[in-house]
């Protein structure tokens, strides 16, 4: 038995399927290439004077990895070779309140600059930094006139901050957002492919219709592959039990996933038979029904999660 994709190598020009697969794969590989950037800045006190020897820690929101450095005499700091992405910066210095910044973006095209101004410790009444939530509850109230979190009997696992898990959650959300958008985009060529199938199969002998159907099918397959990639590679969060509409969404994936692999294979066989002037026969005749079931499962999966955030 010939592998279907090789059937198109026998034609005079490169198959649209091969071109689309190449484009899709190239895009994916480019997206995965590692790029680095620089994050720099200056740490000063409230009067604008440089703060030397402050510890600056950069935590990747994507991976949870941390890097630390200390400020020079002029208060400056610099991180070279940071992997492109979002970082949270924590700046600690004796006598000053620990400062945690929100996300700062590092990319390879330009240097990210983040200057920070520290407040002296005794004057601060700002919102709690992440570390404060750990330290506050841990200390039972000395006077015993006010209850503390440690009085309530929560386990340390419940009360301690987990930046690594937060980074995973952030990454998961970003990937699933792309997954959702790509899934919606994929419906356009999917519906077009189904519409074109009317003139591509049956008694039709038009090569142009069959080719148009094939091209749209290939585009659908490529976009579907990218959509699936972002769902499969999204981080799993430990201890999460799947329930609700997402369970149905995942179940549907077990139908449209294999269907999206099987449909083009059967389609290629059918295309070959039609091109040879034969009537579509054998296993290739399952192309249409499999495609319809696949599209149905894809649509059901989409609808099951589209009415929520």
């Amino acid at each position: 038995m010939r592998w279907p994709i090789f059937l198109y190598r026998q034609s005079e020009s490169p198959s649209p399927l091969v071109i689309c697969l190449f484009v899709g794969l190239t895009t994916s590989l480019m997206a995965q290439s590692a790029e680095t950037g620089v994050l720099t800045g200056k740490v000063t006190d409230s009067s604008g004077a440089a703060v030397a020897n402050a510890t600056v820690t950069a935590t990747s929101l994507d991976t949870g990895q941390m890097r630390s450095t200390t400020t020079r005499a002029d208060g400056s700091y610099r991180f070279d070779g940071l992997k492109k992405g979002s970082f949270r910066l924590k700046i600690e210095a004796p006598g000053f309140t620990t400062l945690e910044t929100s996300s700062v973006q590092v990319d390879s095209t330009e240097m990210a600059v983040l200057d920070a101004k520290l407040q002296t410790a005794e004057r601060t009444s700002s919102p709690p930094a992440p570390t404060m939530q750990e330290s506050l509850p841990a200390a039972p109230s000395s006077s015993k006139t006010e209850p503390s979190l440690s009085d309530l009997g929560f386990s340390p696992e419940q009360t301690q901050a987990n930046p690594k898990e937060q980074a995973l959650l952030d990454k998961r959300t970003r990937m699933l957002r792309i997954h959702q958008r790509m899934g919606l985009i994929t419906t356009i060529p999917l519906i077009t492919t189904l519409a074109l199938s009317v003139n591509a199969g049956g008694k039709s002998t038009s090569n142009a219709d069959r080719t148009a159907h094939l091209v749209m099918g290939a585009i659908t397959g490529d976009l579907y592959g990218i959509t699936a990639y972002y769902a499969i590679r999204a981080p799993r969060i430990k201890g999460t039990k799947t329930k609700g509409p997402i369970k149905f969404h995942k179940t549907m994936a077990w139908i449209h996933g294999p269907g999206m692999i099987l449909t083009p294979i059967l389609g290629a066989l059918a295309y070959d038979q039609k091109s040879n002037g034969e009537k579509v026969h054998g296993i290739a005749s399952a192309h249409g029904p499999v495609a319809i079931v696949t599209a149905g499962a894809f649509g059901a999966a989409l609808l099951s999660v589209s009415l929520k955030f």
Binding site: T145, L149, L168, L169
Partner: protein, 178 residues
């Protein structure tokens, strides 16, 4: 009223006011409500724990609940809520309030609340709560008028339409003396 009766009353009441008394949170249901033109969501938690310590006529209460414990019936949505509220980094929601001992006998109270959530502390003034006393236990119900901007949380969106910023938190707690 005779001097003797007044003295007796003082002897009975004053030590009771001055004495330390503690309250423990028994059953509780906390639920947030999120509203979207296409969807309504309620996340419920029964995992809150709380304690109240009374001293010199004032009671300090602390109620805490893990962010992870809220269940909206959809694990995917709960993980998304956990992400937007930075629940792994700030795993607990805590609420503190101070009330006079005498509040326990009132049918309604207005409490000043200090809520720490998602790394932010927000104060709500004069939030009304209803009190019911049954067999020595006090049931407190009310709604905290929380909003997402109060805690610097970006509203999640569905089909590019963000949810409403109001996330009222319904509170139903039963306290018992320790």
């Amino acid at each position: 009223m005779s001097k003797t009766a007044l003295l007796s009353l003082c002897l009975l009441v004053l030590p009771a006011l001055a004495a330390d008394q503690q309250w423990i949170l028994g059953q509780s249901t906390l639920s947030y409500h999120v509203s979207h033109p296409l969807h309504q969501v309620d996340g419920v938690s029964h995992a809150a724990r709380g304690k109240g310590i009374c001293h010199a006529g004032q009671c300090d209460f602390l109620i805490a609940v893990p962010v992870k414990s809220f269940d909206s019936g959809d694990s995917n949505r709960d993980l998304h809520m956990l992400q937007v509220t930075r629940g792994a980094e700030f795993p607990m929601v805590t609420m503190r309030t101070r009330l006079p001992v005498s509040a326990a006998t009132l049918p309604m109270i207005n409490a000043d609340l200090e809520i720490e959530f998602a790394g932010q502390t927000t104060r709500y003034r004069q939030v009304p709560f209803k009190l019911e006393t049954q067999a020595g236990e006090i049931r407190i119900t009310g709604i905290i008028p929380a909003t997402l901007p109060d805690f610097k949380i970006d509203p999640p969106s569905l089909l590019t339409i963000p949810v409403k910023t109001e996330i009222p938190v319904r509170v139903d707690m039963t306290w018992r003396p320790e």
